[in-house]
């Protein structure tokens, strides 16, 4: 991101690959998640609580996914792109010790209300589970 390159809507193709991001879920990452998203629900920081409640281990929260999907989108489209819509399914957790690897591509390119839009689909996999989290996004391009 050092150059802050801005992608042009005209240069984007449907089905274009948006690249991959790797994010290790360390204890430090989970602590920063609690602090930065203000989420004290114990399933995200108390390993005994998480395991008593049927989870493999503590795992990242909903707001982490919101942040990660938003980051992946603007890292790809440029800092002046703007997230317009986000929805995602949490099909399996991303736990302490897992490494998240993302895959994503453009599903649609269109104009609406004078806006230059693209829809993206982003999947998060980890060592245990493929498609642990699956998101649909709409991004408005700046140019």
């Amino acid at each position: 991101m050092s150059t802050h390159e801005q992608k042009s809507w005209h240069d984007i193709d449907e089905l274009e690959d948006i690249g991959s991001l790797t994010f290790p879920i360390t204890m430090r990452a989970l602590m920063i998640d609690v602090a930065g998203t203000r989420d004290l629900y114990p399933i995200h920081h108390d390993r005994d609580f998480a395991k008593r409640n049927g989870a493999r281990d503590i795992f990242v929260n909903t707001m982490f996914y919101e942040g990660l999907f938003g980051r992946i989108a603007t890292d790809w489209a440029g800092p002046e792109s703007f997230l317009r819509k986000l929805s995602f399914r949490m099909q399996g957790p991303n736990c302490l010790g897992d490494t998240i690897v993302s895959r994503g591509w453009v599903t649609k390119k269109y104009r609406q209300d004078d806006r230059k839009l693209v829809d993206l689909e982003i999947h998060l996999d980890n060592e245990i589970e493929k498609d642990a989290t699956v998101a649909s996004l709409t991004i408005e391009l700046a140019m």
Binding site: M1, T37, M63, E66, D75, F82
Partner: protein, 190 residues
């Protein structure tokens, strides 16, 4: 035990009615934005770099749009007098007939035994950029649909669809709208 018909009859008058606004305790700040960006190591300069942001099409530092839920979470602790101030500021935003407390949709669900909840789906639309200078955030919600009782994997339940709106305190701009589908269920016994 109450029948399904009476549950729907109890819920019907509560549908499609906006609840009162609540207000966040804190204004949107650059510091909160930076703490949030640390979580996913988001380096976007429109969140970090005032000079870059000023020259951008946003004209100023903005919050990551997807930060809306983080910004509107309940604080971990506040002195009582601060809670009173936040509540009375919110009450001033609400007409008297809305501020009157009515039985909430969720409390009716609990009365009928649908006591456990899980998020079945959610979509958020970000309608306008927002950031430091916009003050606190106003939130209101309404339930728009309740399903018939369904057999689900965990028991028997109803799906509630609700909409929340998010507005800036300064200039009352609509910045976000979320649609939530919540499953409220009675867990199978044994």
């Amino acid at each position: 035990m109450a029948s399904e018909n009476t549950f729907r009859e109890s819920i019907a008058p509560l549908l499609n009615r906006w609840g009162p606004y609540r207000l966040t305790r804190d204004e949107i700040t650059e510091t909160a934005i930076r703490y949030y960006c640390e979580v996913t190591e988001d380096a976007n300069p429109v969140y970090w770099d005032a000079d870059f942001a000023r020259r951008s099409r946003f004209g100023r530092i903005i919050a990551p749009p997807q930060m809306l839920f983080t910004l509107t979470r309940q604080p971990w602790w506040s002195p009582e007098y601060v809670n009173h101030k936040t509540a009375s500021d919110a009450a001033a935003l609400n007409p008297a007939d809305v501020a009157v407390s009515t039985p909430s949709v969720l409390s009716v669900c609990e009365d009928y035994g649908y006591a456990t909840s899980t998020v079945a789906g959610q979509e958020v639309e970000y309608l306008e950029p927002y950031g430091p200078g916009d003050g606190r955030i106003k939130i209101r919600g309404k339930t728009i649909d309740v399903s018939d009782e369904k057999i689900v994997r965990v028991g028997r339940g109803v799906f509630l669809t609700s909409i929340s709106e998010y507005r800036t305190e300064v200039d009352d701009r609509l910045i976000g709208r979320s649609t939530l589908v919540l499953l409220r269920y009675k867990a199978d016994e044994g």
